[in-house]
């Protein structure tokens, strides 16, 4: 039974997570760790393959230098365990007996082949919530297909809608496919947890990254279902319905901004009116656009002739201002506009600074303090903030602490297992 004290350092402080995932599922455990859970990353001896994913600290590859690993494994502790050996598998089972969650992202069937499938593990701990994150789910015709990010973003329907109309479809050049499935895995883990806390019943959560991506497409699939229209990629524009579209991306004096002219509620029409008033103030107004009944246009839907007029008037105005001038003016005038930001813009952003967003974590091995994205949510009533508290573990950093301290292995056991290659 949990009590008030158990929740002190974070919402999920009472709970233990075993994270066996590779680069495909790491964000799931990271989210639970950020919320306060005690997450133990279990890596094969020598380190996780995710440690070979770049970018690297000072651009030099190395098991302790992967920034991908740092970002996805901060807040976790780490042990090494070769779960394909009898010794490693036995130790894992002992850890499972006292764990609340287990996360894995192996190819479907791999865990069962090691005797560590959900059926095996629930026999040890019926309360266990086991989360499996894979490209397509545990079964089905594509279950054994190999998916890198681009393959997944294509099959999930994202790419067809993104990019210039006269060129091949595009992905986001920073991988997204497994991030969507990993984050969905954390949400589903908490749904299963809520049930487990009431009933004592654990279960297996089977996540499909392809489906998670297919759910990012706004109303585009519904356009096929209800109007038999296939929406298409349009570069700087967005097709918002068959034959109606709006421009989203615009060049300005020193880069690009996003601005979404269109009608409808939620401030959209007001935003356009404010932009038109600003243009008039600076002698670049457009009486034709002032005369458009923006309030009566639907959300995000402007016919081609209105868009043409809008681009003719607004594009030259943007070219007379910088991104920052436009963003400041938009804030003052309640215009739906944001700058196209680079990572260094984001690191220096004043709203993030004002909200104390970034966490600065000591990497004593490099003598450096590293800036991390911080709270993904603020818990206004919790003394301990959601966010990063410790750097990602080194290979096997907590073997002694966890295998020794918790499972009672002595130094001789630990060195014997090391020699056997089990840890």
């Amino acid at each position: 039974m949990t009590s008030n004290d158990d929740y002190g350092p974070g919402l999920l402080a009472p709970y233990r997570v075993l994270d066996l995932s590779d680069g495909r599922g790491l964000l799931c455990g990271k989210m639970l760790a950020d919320l306060g859970a005690d997450v133990v990353q279990v890596e094969p001896p020598g380190g996780s393959p995710a440690r070979r994913v770049g970018p690297f600290y000072k651009d030099e590859p190395g098991a302790e230098r992967s920034l991908f690993w740092w970002a996805c494994c901060a807040n976790k502790r780490g042990i090494t365990l070769d779960i394909a050996t009898d010794d490693g598998s036995t130790l894992l089972r002992r850890l499972v007996a006292n764990a609340d969650f287990l996360i894995e992202s192996a190819d479907p069937g791999r865990m069962a082949a090691l005797g560590l499938g959900y059926d095996d593990l629930q026999a040890i701990n019926p309360r266990l919530v086991m989360v499996s994150i894979t490209a397509f789910g545990q079964d089905g015709p594509y279950a054994d297909y190999q998916a890198s990010d681009i393959v997944g973003m294509a099959l999930g329907g994202f790419m067809h809608l993104t990019g210039d109309g006269d060129r091949p479809p595009l992905r986001v050049s920073m991988p997204q496919f497994y991030q969507h499935g990993s984050a969905a895995g954390a949400a589903a883990a908490m749904i299963a947890h809520t049930h487990r806390q009431l009933t004592g019943e654990g279960q297996h959560v089977d996540v499909s990254c392809q489906q998670a991506v297919a759910r990012t497409l706004a109303h585009a699939p519904q356009y096929w279902d209800l109007e038999q229209t296939i929406l298409r990629r349009m570069g700087a524009y967005r097709e918002s319905a068959g034959g109606t579209f709006t421009r989203i991306n615009w060049p300005c004096k020193d880069g690009y901004v996003n601005f979404q002219p269109g009608g409808g509620t939620a401030g959209a029409a007001r935003s356009v009116r404010s932009m038109l008033a600003w243009m008039t103030e600076e002698g670049m107004g457009s009486p034709e656009l002032d005369a458009v009944n923006w309030e009566e246009l639907g959300y995000g839907t402007a016919r081609a002739e209105i868009m043409e007029m809008t681009v003719a008037a607004v594009a030259p105005f943007f070219m007379t201002h910088t991104r920052n001038e436009l963003a400041d003016g938009a804030l003052e005038r309640r215009i739906l506009l944001f700058p196209v930001a680079t990572p260094s813009d984001i690191l220096a952003h004043r709203q993030l600074a004002a909200r104390d967003y970034y966490d600065h974590i000591e990497h004593e091995d490099f003598g450096e303090t590293v800036t991390y994205p911080g709270h993904f949510v603020k818990d206004m009533q919790d003394a301990a903030r959601v966010g990063v508290r410790r750097r990602a573990p080194h290979v096997g950093e907590h073997n002694r602490e966890i295998l020794g301290g918790e499972l009672g292995l002595n130094d001789r056991d630990l060195s014997r297992l090391t020699e056997l290659g089990a840890i």
Binding site: S208, L231, Y256, M380
Partner: protein
């Protein structure tokens, strides 16, 4: 039939547009009782956004709205009416969780901020989501995910090097955040159930979205790197891209396959398939190792595109996968309905809506073995459940209900 894992969880939902309703759809799909408050006087944005059933617009006909609001109860309350705050406080006593994604300050203006809500219900979990979070110089900046994607760093890294950046499709960040939101809300519910403590959760869509690009921010911080537009290129893979395929039986020409080669075995397998089709250029020393392929990537992409253009994309995907090469067709939105794997997972579920008829809504990406989610009620007509929800679920007396109705508060 198995019970639902969130049965008994009571949610008062003020969310609108996409990020909020998608969050509460996870809750309603898994059994929470979600009372979705709308205003009949100012119908929410998505009710006026297409697509519409049969192409005919109407307040109860939007597929955009219907997708995110299945399984919820629809209440109509005029938040500008003098009786509204008191009524909301009455529902707040009933609720375990209250969700909203207005511009910060809106609830407070109605006298319904966390202080007031927690006074009537100290254990309540209030979840607030906004573009940029509460407090700070920019808390009132309005926006949608469609434009916030640029500030969150996505737009800057999508595009061709010889052209400008383009946006990820749709209101992209709106679909990143709900997964974080559900995890956070249920973590707070866990503490609420164990200790009786409530809280106010404050989510900035910008801050949450940055977690999908943690390593990019670290790279900028420690290495000073600013990313460039690279099309579909990948620093650790070659070839890596989307290649044209033959048009299909529908006469559709916008057909593509993605191929990603990360190691020598995958390269050898791809090369052998091409050679078997008579494409022998690919055996050139210019492509033998990863390093030299990178140096001749434009040429290699051209040869591959010439090869793929004669192939049916599905046949080629199955063939390449069978020899261990990661490959996948580019699905358009119609293809998603025909995709064999998505069909196997029952990704789309059809609900029968009183005005729209059958419409597709997406089922969760996470299958729970003991308590799977269930979508069995279409999105509500505007205000369709006001009386049932207030009287049968919240427990208002008939007299109190009639008084509110006659005063015009339930419009």
């Amino acid at each position: 039939m198995a019970g639902l894992p969130l049965e008994g969880l009571k949610v008062l939902d003020f969310c609108w547009v996409a990020v909020g309703p998608m969050t509460t759809k996870y809750l309603s799909e898994y059994g929470a009782t979600v009372l979705r408050v709308e205003s009949g006087k100012r119908p929410e944005t998505l009710r006026r956004a297409g697509p519409f059933a049969g192409g005919e617009s109407g307040i109860n006909r939007s597929g955009y709205f219907a997708n995110y609001n299945a399984n919820k109860y629809g209440l109509s309350i005029d938040m500008g009416h003098p009786s509204a705050p008191e009524l909301i406080l009455r529902i707040a006593e009933w609720a375990d969780v209250i969700t909203e994604n207005f511009t910060p300050g809106t609830l407070e203006r109605w006298g319904l901020g966390y202080d007031e809500l927690s006074r009537v219900n100290p254990r309540v979990v209030l979840f607030s989501a906004s573009m940029l979070g509460r407090g700070g110089p920019m808390q009132t900046q309005p926006g949608f995910g469609a434009v916030l994607s640029s500030l969150a760093g996505y737009t800057n890294i999508i595009g061709w090097p010889d052209r400008g950046p383009v946006n990820p499709y749709g209101a992209y960040t709106d679909f990143v955040c709900p997964k974080f939101a559900v995890a956070a809300i249920l973590a707070a519910v866990d503490r609420q159930r164990a200790t009786g403590l409530g809280t106010h959760l404050d989510m900035s869509q910008l801050e949450t979205s940055l977690h999908f690009g943690g390593s990019m921010l670290l790279d900028a911080g420690v290495n000073g790197r600013e990313p460039e537009l690279v099309g579909n290129r990948h620093p650790a893979a070659s070839p890596h891209g989307a290649y044209p395929c033959a048009s299909d039986a529908n006469g559709e020409t916008d057909r593509w396959i993605t191929i990603a080669v990360f190691n020598d075995e995958q390269w050898a397998a791809l090369r052998d398939e091409m050679v078997a089709d008579g494409v022998t250029d690919v055996q050139s020393g210019e492509f033998r190792t990863f390093r030299v392929r990178k140096a001749h990537e434009d040429k290699l992409d051209g040869i591959i595109a010439g090869w793929t253009a004669n192939h049916d994309r599905h046949a080629l995907m199955h063939r390449l996968q069978s020899v261990g090469v990661p490959a996948g067709v580019v699905n358009d939105t119609r293809d998603l309905f025909d995709d064999e794997q998505l069909k196997h997972r029952e990704h789309f579920t059809w609900l029968d809506h009183p005005e729209m008829g059958p419409y597709a809504t997406d089922y969760t990406e996470s299958h729970l073995s003991a308590t799977p989610g269930r979508l069995d009620r279409p999105a509500p007509l505007l205000g369709q459940d006001t009386e049932y929800a207030l009287r049968e679920i919240v427990g208002l007396s008939e007299a109190d209900y009639r008084e509110l109705e006659e005063a015009g508060a339930l419009e």
